[in-house]
């Protein structure tokens, strides 16, 4: 028994690892009646050697699958070891890992066996058992199986903190090419249902405090990056659409890890596009926390993100007429636009300048990256001496004084040619 469960765990964790999401925050579930667990701001209990956070027990219920999506390691035609957990095995693993403080909860996904509803029903059973039989109040993230019935999705929402359906390929044409058996409509339909339910629950909670939880941490989705020839503009526009239209809590970007000799995909050995992935996350942050519009980051004139500089600096260099920003006078939203000033520093600037005007030294101490910010600001004792400089000159100044951690090796390779 012990040996088999170990092997199953290895197979089904390995198959689940390409799902990036590991978030355990955003829920508000408290420990009730002296039960087990609660949710909070999210905790990463460890980090794997690839530097990724491990917050949840992230596994597939099974990697048997009736589909043959080219980008997926569990595709039907792939010659790999297959395994399946029983509902009870997943429950026992979750409880025992949780009690030892290894994890914040469970992230359960699955290959599709028999059909969508049959699979979804098993996922819901696990969550239901954890909540009802074990009074488990830790975090549960369930994958919603495309084309599962609304009744099952509703039930999933009653037990899970977060639900997600992966878009997988950002463009419809890419999806048709790599997963001809799947269709976008089957993914969109449950997203729409979830969005409506989430809005409804929120409204009802305002009137009846006792309204039962419905996926309090909302829904999220994931796109694979670099498997098909999509542009950054297509990716960011798609992400923006799903944030706006479906109130997504998060859109995740997963750099494609080559796992197949299929000619439709990048060959095995192709480097994972981690730098591009990083730039996409930076763009995502700009939209969610910095008040940027998608078309300010990428547009028809600028469809690809720069790899050598971050998207905020890139925007600033394309919009030099908006600068300089006055640190001691301008609004928070404008200060946020300055390269080298993050949300934390911007808030500190607003708080500290009430006590007196700030100079460059203050900014440095507050945590501003002054070597970037200085081209875009004025403050006490500092005039804008770079105002008439061209943006390409400023860019080269900045690149000479800083180095992207993602590109340090990539740059050296490029210089060989």
């Amino acid at each position: 028994m012990g040996e088999r469960i170990k092997e199953k765990l290895e197979i089904l964790a390995d198959a689940a690892k390409y799902d990036v999401s590991c978030s355990s925050s955003g829920s508000n579930r408290k420990n009730k009646e002296k039960g087990l667990g609660n949710t909070g701001a999210g905790i990463c209990h460890t980090y794997t050697e690839d530097g990724r956070c491990v917050s949840l027990l992230k596994i597939l219920l099974t990697n048997h699958c009736i589909y043959d999506c080219a980008y997926c390691v569990s595709r039907k035609s792939n010659d790999i070891k297959r395994a399946a957990f029983t509902v009870q095995e997943v429950v026992d693993l979750t409880i025992n890992f949780y009690r030892r403080n290894y994890i914040e909860g469970l992230f359960l996904s699955s290959g599709i066996f028999k059909n969508a509803d049959f699979t979804m029903e098993r996922l819901v059973q696990v969550a239901k058992k954890l909540r009802q039989e074990h009074n488990f109040n830790g975090y549960i993230h369930l994958k919603t199986i495309p084309a599962a019935s609304p009744e099952l999705i509703h039930e999933a929402g009653l037990y899970a903190d977060r639900l997600s359906i992966n878009l997988e390929i950002p463009t419809d044409s890419g999806l048709k090419l790599l997963a001809p058996e799947k269709n976008r409509g089957d993914m969109i339909q449950p997203m729409t249902y979830l969005k409506d339910q989430l809005v409804k629950t929120k409204e009802e909670k305002k009137i009846f405090k006792s309204t039962p939880h419905f996926a309090p941490a909302g829904q999220s989705t994931q796109m694979i990056i670099g498997a098909t020839g999509e542009t950054d503009k297509q990716i960011i526009t798609a992400a923006n659409y799903f944030y706006q239209k479906f109130n997504m809590k998060r859109v995740y970007y997963s750099g494609y890890v080559p796992i197949s000799y299929d000619k439709r995909l990048p060959a095995i050995g192709t480097e994972v596009p981690t730098a591009r992935e990083n730039r996409l996350y930076q763009s995502d942050w700009l939209m969610r926390f910095y008040g940027f519009q998608a078309n300010e980051i990428v547009n028809d004139a600028h469809p690809l993100l720069d790899l050598d500089i971050d998207p905020k600096l890139s925007w600033a260099l394309r919009n030099m007429d908006r600068f300089p920003i006055d640190i001691n006078k301008d609004d928070y939203q404008l200060i946020l636009r300055v390269p080298g000033i993050g949300v934390g520093s911007a808030q500190k600037i607003i708080a500290a300048r009430r006590f007196g005007p700030l100079n460059l030294d203050h900014l440095k101490k507050i945590g501003v990256a002054v070597n970037r910010a200085k081209y875009f600001i004025v403050c006490k004792g500092f005039m804008q001496i770079y105002a008439d400089k061209r943006s390409d000159i400023i860019k080269s100044y900045i690149l000479n004084t800083s180095k992207s951690k993602y590109l340090s090796t990539g740059n050296q390779q490029l210089q060989l040619f």
């Binding site: 009690r99 030892r100 403080n101």
Partner: protein, 259 residues
């Protein structure tokens, strides 16, 4: 205002009493040290604080009125860092709070406030790490035990978290560096100490393990290896998030052994 070398008993109440006496006696510390370090001989420029709960409470209430519960907690967290410069910094910042008519807690351009915020950030990071890296082992008698060795004295700061989370299991978290722990018996949490000659270590806990403990520790290690994506290996980032000094208490790092 006379500048003096000050001594206190090293406790939080003692530090609050110190703040009270600065205003009471119109003195200000050049140095602030533990009374145990006090040399023979009484000099004019020395002032020893004797802890009085009444004075400490008045300072606590005064600080809360001035800079709020959060502002008060920040000073306490700074004290818990146990850094040599922390007590004097707490006194300096507290008197800055009392002497300024405004609420200056968010004056991030002020040197002492900046220094304080930096320490608070480190303490808060360590608190968060202990919420993350504390690993319980199940003993045969049904108790869950964890051994920790935090950089700062953060055990008081994680009590509520573990109490709320593991309300239905008995647990003990023991700080081997400071020789004390928190024990939750299923109802209340209390502080426990053991005598200085003995200690609790992972090696001695093994004999007391529940029969399933090894299975789950092994499953966790296998899980940890299986979710890693080799093509994305990034040891620099890994070490940044899981610094080596914590490895000896983490199963997945095989309790400190190189994998």
């Amino acid at each position: 205002m006379q500048h003096v070398d000050m001594y206190y008993d090293g406790t939080w109440s003692g530090l609050l009493t110190t703040i009270f006496e600065i205003f009471e006696y119109k003195v200000f510390p050049i140095t602030l040290r533990n009374s145990k370090e006090r040399q023979q001989g009484m000099f004019q420029t020395e002032h020893e604080v004797l802890t009085q709960q009444g004075k400490a409470d008045r300072v606590m209430n005064g600080l809360i009125a001035k800079v709020g519960k959060k502002g008060y907690a920040e000073l306490w967290h700074t004290y818990l860092s146990e850094l040599p410069e922390a007590p004097l910094l707490v006194v300096r910042v507290a008197s800055y709070y009392f002497n300024d008519a405004r609420n200056v807690r968010s004056n991030f351009a002020h040197d002492h406030i900046l220094q304080l915020k930096k320490i608070i950030k480190s303490v808060s990071r360590e608190r968060h790490r202990m919420k993350a890296f504390t690993r319980f082992q199940l003993l045969a008698d049904g108790m869950y035990v964890a051994v920790i060795e935090p950089d700062f004295n953060v055990l008081p700061l994680i009590q509520k978290h573990f109490q709320d989370r593991y309300a239905d299991q008995r647990w003990l978290i023991f700080d081997v560096k400071r020789h004390y722990g928190l024990f939750y018996d299923g109802h209340v949490t209390s502080e426990v100490t053991i005598d200085h000659t003995s200690t609790i270590a992972n090696a001695t806990l093994v004999d007391l393990h529940d029969q399933q403990e090894e299975l789950y520790a092994d499953l966790w290690k296998r899980y940890f290896k299986s979710v890693n994506i080799k093509e994305r290996r990034n040891m620099k980032l890994h070490l940044q998030h899981v610094p080596r000094r914590y490895w000896k208490y983490l199963h997945e790092k095989s309790f400190g052994m190189e994998i």
